[in-house]
């Protein structure tokens, strides 16, 4: 088949829609194979009856290095590539994918997807209608200085071994592990409306932990590093104190092992940003997903207490504003456009304590009577159906620039929690339980001693309404989930949460090792 220029491609796809306003795209892929596939898929879908079609040519690459104690345990490089085709026929979705990115295979996928959509249309009563969206022709990529894939794996292994060497040098440390995951996600999106968007995201996930075993009781604890994955280049690691923090992490593990076990009861809780981000993820990020709230995730992830009739009601204390932002620098979910081709944005989910908005996609916006999508569509790879996924969801800092030390100073009787441990929340996002990495008793404005076996358990609305103190802009830190699961088949999404430390009043503390029964 004759190769197509971008202009002829757009002319071909314009047959399905109004002619798009051409943007001046920089660096768009000009591989004729891809453009031919796009053109063939969209034409085949139209011929088979699709009122809308899109496709993603998607490449994922992941490189992993694992170190255990004094040696490298494994090196792995994984790559997946292929094309996913999605069509709308008679108001129903159909989807098909293949690792073979070629014209004939693309045409076959378009037909399979249309047949599936027709079969589904027979039992669909609520026809899919896409919210209008401007046609974008653009390129977007992670802002980075040093491509982490260009750093030799031997150098990465050496860095991890250096971390382990520092961890093991601390008396009382029995074992340690360190790892580094480097991920690339590249995709070319095109749809029957004329969109053509190329995006490239590079993510870096460093991690390590030290384990201390009590020589007589056999009890053991681990302390993980509080640093976080980010969408960034190698410079993220260079600026992160990855190596420098190792001695403190190891000393913390030994200290935790020898700390008293917590007494259960109600306490004021100061959550460090390194812990609070995950609580935000579970108790705000997931409940404000519109598909979940309306029952579309009922069979697996569950539904949400935050139903549409609760819009405008109090979700949190008036101090609290929580916002979604897929443009946040470094955020794992940050990109230029979602997998519907919608330009990404920032908006409030909870404003001064009131629940004001959901996360939406093009096929969901109309369910709320909204005119446009919030840009939350995502599919993890070419084999996956795009659906609503969490953007970066963050807590706005307080107006006063308070540090975590000032939060501690203002607290009479509480516990300060650092880092993330175990987590769990119910299927409507009410009852949650979290632990952490390090726990410190707070008495009369001072940290008095470290504790162990601390967990906190609460109910989402009660917890957020009990927030009475926030750290200021200088105290904001970002935390990240590299693999957040949702959907059937299960898909992984990478997402970040920026927040200051915050104080919550009268939260139920449990003893997570069940040494002292409570809560």
């Amino acid at each position: 088949m004759k190769s197509l220029s971008r202009r002829s491609l757009l002319q071909a796809t314009a047959a399905l829609a109004l002619a798009p306003a051409l943007a001046h795209a920089r660096g768009l892929v000009t591989d004729s194979t891809y453009l031919n596939v796009i053109s063939a898929v969209l034409a085949a879908a139209k011929k088979a009856g699709a009122s809308y079609a899109d496709l993603r040519i998607h490449r994922r690459r992941e490189e992993g290095v694992w170190v255990r104690d004094d040696h490298v345990e494994g090196l792995h490089d994984a790559e997946r590539f292929g094309v996913g085709v999605r069509v709308l026929v008679d108001g129903a979705w159909g989807f098909a994918s293949s690792p073979l990115v070629a014209v004939k295979e693309g045409q076959r996928l378009a037909l399979v997807a249309c047949e599936l959509a027709k079969a589904n249309a027979a039992v669909v009563t609520r026809k899919i209608a896409l919210a209008p969206n401007p046609v974008h022709v653009d390129v977007w990529q992670t802002a980075l200085f040093k491509d982490p894939f260009k750093i030799p794996v031997a150098d990465k292994a050496e860095l991890l071994l250096a971390v382990c060497s520092k961890l093991r040098a601390v008396k009382g440390i029995n074992f340690c592990e360190a790892s580094l995951s480097t991920r690339l996600e590249w995709k070319l999106f095109a749809n029957s409306e004329g969109a053509l968007i190329e995006q490239s995201q590079t993510r870096l996930g460093p991690d390590y932990s030290a384990t201390a075993i009590h020589p007589t009781t056999g009890e053991f604890v681990s302390r993980g590093w509080d640093g976080q994955p980010a969408q960034a280049g190698w410079e993220h690691l260079e600026n992160s104190h990855f190596l420098e923090d190792a001695t403190q992490v190891a000393e913390d593990a030994v200290q935790k092992l020898n700390s008293p076990s917590v007494q259960p009861g109600k306490k004021d809780l100061i959550l460090d940003a390194s812990n609070l981000w995950l609580t935000i993820h579970e108790s705000v990020g997931h409940p404000t997903e519109l598909d979940r709230a309306l029952g579309y995730e009922a069979n697996m992830a569950g539904t949400s207490f935050a139903t549409p009739d609760t819009l405008g009601t109090q979700y949190a204390s008036p101090l609290v504003t929580l916002f979604a932002d897929k443009t946040m620098p470094g955020g794992l979910a940050t990109c230029g456009y979602d997998d519907d081709g919608v330009r990404t944005q920032r908006w409030n989910l909870v404003e001064k304590g009131k629940f004001v908005a959901y996360q939406t996609t093009r096929d969901q916006a109309g369910w709320l009577g909204e005119q446009a999508s919030r840009g939350c569509s995502y599919a993890m790879d070419h084999d996956s159906v795009p659906f609503q996924r969490m953007p970066n969801v963050s807590l706005a800092p307080g107006e006063k620039d308070l540090s975590v030390q000032e939060l501690i100073k203002a607290t009479d009787d509480g516990i300060y929690v650092v880092g993330t441990g175990s987590w769990s929340i119910d299927h409507q996002r009410y009852n949650f339980q979290f632990t952490g990495q390090m726990f410190y008793e707070v008495k009369k404005g001072k940290l008095t001693r470290s504790l162990k076996d601390v967990g906190y358990q609460s109910n989402t609305p009660a917890f957020w309404k009990s927030c009475d103190l926030l750290g200021g802009p200088s105290s904001v830190r970002m935390g990240s989930a590299f693999d957040d699961g949702k959907g059937e088949p299960m898909q992984s999404n990478a997402v970040s949460h920026a927040c200051p430390p915050a104080r919550f009043r009268g939260v139920s503390i449990i003893n997570s090792a069940a040494k002292k029964e409570g809560a």
């Binding site: 255990r68 040696h71 490298v72 345990e73 494994g74 090196l75 792995h76 490089d77 994984a78 790559e79 997946r80 590539f81 292929g82 129903a92 979705w93 098909a96 293949s98 690792p99 997807a113 599936l116 959509a117 079969a119 039992v123 669909v124 609520r126 794996v153 031997a154 292994a157 050496e158 029995n174 384990t211 056999g218 053991f220 309306l294 029952g295 579309y296 995730e297 009922a298 069979n299 697996m300 569950g302 207490f305 159906v385 441990g421 175990s422 987590w423 769990s424 299927h427 996002r429 009410y430 009852n431 632990t435 076996d453 358990q457 059937e488 139920s508 449990i510 997570s512 069940a514 029964e517």
Partner: protein, 436 residues
């Protein structure tokens, strides 16, 4: 590409390329090739459906103790050449990896009967018809449903430069339904996993989910605390998964396991025997390195008989490697489901758990929440729906207090698992959840 000769030929051609590029290299190739068809539904209608050709080729190469692995889903000559070059390049740059084990030589493994033509032939129309059948009881009762069906038709293959050559075709299906009452106070779930079309009981799953939804509506609150519980197979499976996931000899020898120094001790109820057997569990009969999987008894009448031993740890400690298992069965008991309830003055029936997570590794304590059908048992009868609970519970303590197992078993969560319902005591419901 799911035909055995074609896949094995591909594996061997990759091995030959490695040998040509680096004669001193040893290598192993594994392939998972599957056609996946899936249909998802919610609010009583199909929401998404897809078909995928899923292919994963993993290559591991060894240059002495320098080793690396890489995976790709591309099979054209240029991509395969690139995979070989990339993997060798990483291995050459790699430091020595002391845990590298020699690639496996030839072994004899009898294929398991894991593929069913009838299931492989289940097409989009058949899937949609099955879902319509499953939804019928819910629609009749004005319930709202959501659920998921996935059907796989695939093949796994392994080959090494030392002469190993193994294949195993399979089919697999998972199907589940959640039904909810329109007032949002009741929710019921049912699901199954199977490798056989004949066992894919759409109507049965739909019926149980609808019954549980209706029965669980308008639940009353029960005080948190310790209760006698009957855990249906899916709920019991949550505990057994944590147990099986901890059966590792190396972590026990290193002192960071609940089983350190415990092999040979009676840790669980004498009613519990946990086994793995390719003949009775519908599992692939070899592991990812090509180790043949023979029948193993991990826990016999409550006694911890043995722990899993990797090839590396076997070499270090002069043990026999066990292979890595993903199929387990708990031998059935003698009680009917009604007999499990009998004698319980006041207890709780749990359909399934949600969002479990480990909170204390030493005591194997987990947290989780009950979901989709939690009921009060009074005087041997299920009487009243109750609100859901969060549990904080040691898996070992719960399984030590088991005093009855059902005579019937189910495969939920995985086709390679077979589990009875269990009755146990002093199970800790730590707090209440408002979730329905």
């Amino acid at each position: 590409m799911t035909r055995e000769p074609e896949v094995l030929a591909l594996c061997k051609s990759v091995l030959a390329q490695v040998k040509r590029a680096e004669p001193k290299a040893e290598a192993g190739v594994s392939v998972w090739a599957m056609h996946r068809a899936h249909t998802r539904f919610a609010r009583n209608e199909i929401t998404t459906a897809g078909e995928n050709e899923i292919f994963t080729l993993s290559l591991s190469v060894q240059l002495g103790l320098r080793s690396a692995s890489a995976t790709s889903n591309q099979t054209d000559p240029a991509s395969l050449r690139g995979l070989v070059e990339r993997t060798l390049a990483i291995a050459r740059l790699s430091p020595e990896l002391p845990e590298t084990m020699p690639v496996q030589g030839p072994v004899k493994v009898a294929k398991s009967a894991l593929r069913d033509d009838a299931l492989a032939r289940l097409d989009a129309r058949g899937r949609a018809q099955g879902i319509v059948q499953a939804l019928a009881p819910s629609l009749e009762q004005g319930l709202q449903t959501a659920g998921f069906l996935a059907v796989y038709d695939g093949l796994t293959a392994l080959a090494t430069s030392a002469g190993l050559s193994l294949t195993q075709p399979f089919t697999d299906a998972s199907f589940s339904v959640t039904a909810r009452t329109k007032d949002g106070t009741g929710s019921g779930w049912s699901g199954l996993n199977t490798r056989q079309r004949a066992s894919l009981d759409f109507a049965g799953v739909g019926k149980v989910a609808a019954q549980k939804a209706v029965a669980s509506a308008r639940p009353r609150a029960l005080e948190p605390g310790r209760y006698t519980v009957v855990l249906e197979p899916t709920a019991a499976g949550e505990l057994f998964e944590y147990l099986s996931g901890s059966l590792d000899r190396r972590s026990a020898d290193e002192g960071r396991s609940p089983f350190s120094g415990k092999v040979g001790q009676k840790l669980l109820s004498e009613l519990i025997t946990l086994r793995s057997d390719p003949k009775t569990c519908a599992m692939v009969p070899f592991d990812g390195e090509g180790t043949p999987l023979s029948p193993r008894t991990w826990v016999k009448a409550g006694v911890l008989e043995e722990l899993g031993v990797s090839r590396y740890w076997a070499k270090e400690k002069k043990l026999q490697p066990t292979g890595a298992y993903d199929g387990f069965e708990v031998l059935p008991g003698t009680s009917s489901r009604a007999q499990l309830l009998s004698g319980i003055k006041r207890g709780v029936l749990v359909t399934r758990f949600w969002y479990s997570n480990l909170v204390d590794a030493k005591s194997l304590s987990i947290t989780a929440l009950t979901r989709d059908g939690t009921f009060l048992i009074e005087d041997g009868q299920v009487t009243t729906p109750i609100k859901n609970f969060r549990i904080n519970q040691s898996v070992l303590d719960a399984l030590a207090k088991v005093d009855a197992l059902s005579s019937d078993r189910e495969s939920t969560g995985s086709s390679a698992w077979k589990l009875p319902a269990v009755r146990t005591h002093e199970f800790l419901f730590a707090s209440q959840s408002e979730a329905v």
